[in-house]
Symmetry: C2
């Protein structure tokens, strides 16, 4: 059986190898993703984000149980920015895997983040596409909701849960706009603690204020064309009719999970309804393409500069100040397009 | 006199027009920058960053006075992320301009930031290159030191001052690594307040801990090639021998400014010494090129997608799932290189 067939049969070792290839940025990863693509697009992609200590892992475990009880296979992609090396992430995997170690319908993998600029997104998007294509029915993306990178990753999700805990009162105002933009369901976890109702009220108030603020893709694209590629990528394509819900849970005791699943199901129904619209489908695909295209441009651009000492020769031309970097950049882009792409 | 000659004569109206072109992302801006480039590279670029309320504007005013007293012309580029629209920035300009309104040797311009992804850098880098070419002898970049964007902008500066205030004690630990990486001189402003010495000691301690942590360009470039373009751009090219200094000031009373100027001069001398090295020159130029190159790739990539409905046709191909976005992205990059660049 060839590698892609083994992946499509959800063979654990093949899957682990592909994810390692993706994580290492090998050309084999991209070639495999090309062949997997026709099989992707069936998974339900669920995002969970929240500050450290908000109970994400506990809630994730609860959701795994619920989806397993429904007979769904579940893959978890946990992005852990606190660990620059994979050692910590692997340990975390082991601890979290214990409950699901014997269940072939569950796959959990943690990824450490790397670098500021797009390092995180690079691997996570491809990992999610791969797991989707391999036939995992629910793909759960868990992030710590702090940075721009995390927001980018959560934009992939069909439904995103944002976790809060009581007593975050004053902090709610400080929550980044990006996090609010992606929230379909707010989960006030540890709701047995004092202040849970206040947190709910503050969220309700904030949602009232924020309604209608989200710019449309058309508005973003009109922004002088300058940040257009970034803006079109940034826009989250989500059902317009959905009003974010607020759910209280005590995840470690399993309380409120029924209500949370109900909210998830309701959003899923709304998402699937919206997905019938050709405009909605096109907007999702456009975003998917733009993210891959941007990475392709940068990767091709970089490998061009590194080949045949192009970068060194460009810098030498700049040293004399006879040639300017704007014209040199134009020429490099024209030249790289004229060459066959390197494998990957 | 043609437009470029008027710019080189530092004509105020011509300069204002070019900055507006840059801010609006017009193709004329890029064509002008190409012609200005041979004249750039002479200015001293000084960065000032610090939280709101740390006294950046007051300190900037003090520095303008000192450089003017030395007979230097000074241009200030203030990047104000708090204002999404330029209204606020323009008002700020007026207030700040009052003291220098009649001085033709001072130019102050505020820019509002836009968008998350590179919107800020796009204009600021070009603005600084333009002011440099126009013959402004000191170009001062003022940012609020909070985000990745601000760090990117400050990387342009030859010498960067990071402002602190007493009582930030606990927050120092929370300061982003990126801010520390760019600091040549720490300024503890409002040093008449309680806790100034403690802040100084904490900074000293932090500098002791952090020494030698900064990765080299070679290390970054080896990072699997994945984040290489980003990493090479991110690396700040700075004199290796320099040990960051800590200076106390009370800017609104003009106290400590002598000591600060001394630290700035010392760093300047070190910077100019390092600049004699061909490797250092090449590293600076490489970074300058990479930043422009990345923007060129994205801009060319975007205008390609928008022309002849390329993006629409790509999305249609994806809808059938017969074509995958990875191959379509490869083809688009090859195709855009085969076309003549649009003007700008």
């Amino acid at each position: 059986m060839d590698f892609v067939s083994r992946l499509l049969a959800r063979e654990v070792l093949a899957g682990a190898r592909l994810l390692r290839w993706i994580d290492d940025g090998l050309p084999e990863a991209r070639e495999t993703l090309k062949r997997l693509y026709p099989h992707a697009g069936r998974a339900m992609i669920l995002g969970i984000t929240g500050n450290p200590g908000s109970g994400k892992s506990t809630l994730t475990d609860q959701l795994i149980r619920r989806f397993r009880a429904r007979g769904k296979t579940v893959a978890v992609v946990a992005v852990d920015p606190s660990s620059p090396f994979s050692g910590g992430a692997i340990l975390g995997d082991r601890i979290r895997m214990q409950d699901h170690a014997l269940d072939e319908g569950v796959f959990i993998r943690s990824f450490a983040t790397r670098g500021h600029l797009g390092g995180l997104t690079n691997t996570t998007t491809d990992v999610v596409h791969a797991l989707d294509a391999m036939g995992w029915e629910v793909v759960l993306i868990e992030t710590v909701g702090v940075g721009q990178d995390e927001v980018e990753v959560q934009r992939l999700a069909h439904t995103t849960l944002v976790l809060m805990t009581p007593g975050m009162g004053d902090e709610i105002q400080a929550i980044k706009a990006g996090i609010l933009e992606i929230a379909d369901v707010f989960v006030v976890n540890k709701a047995d603690r004092e202040g849970a109702d206040r947190t709910v009220r503050e969220l309700e108030h904030m949602l009232d204020l924020g309604r209608g603020v989200r710019p449309t893709l058309a508005e973003l694209m009109h922004h002088g064309g300058k940040v257009a590629l970034a803006a079109a990528e940034e826009e989250r394509v989500a059902p317009e009719a959905w009003v974010p819900r607020i759910v209280k849970t005590v995840a470690f005791r399993g309380e409120g999970i029924d209500g949370l699943m109900e909210a998830i199901d309701a959003h899923r129904a709304e998402y699937l309804r919206a997905s019938q619209e050709p405009d909605f489908q096109r907007a999702r695909l456009r975003q998917e393409f733009l993210e891959i295209y941007r990475r392709t441009l940068i990767a091709r651009g970089w490998s061009y500069l590194m080949s045949e000492d192009h970068l060194g020769r460009i810098v030498d031309k700049m040293r004399t100040r006879v040639r300017d970097p704007y014209s040199l950049a134009d020429e490099a882009v024209a030249d790289l397009g004229a060459r066959p792409p390197a494998p990957g």
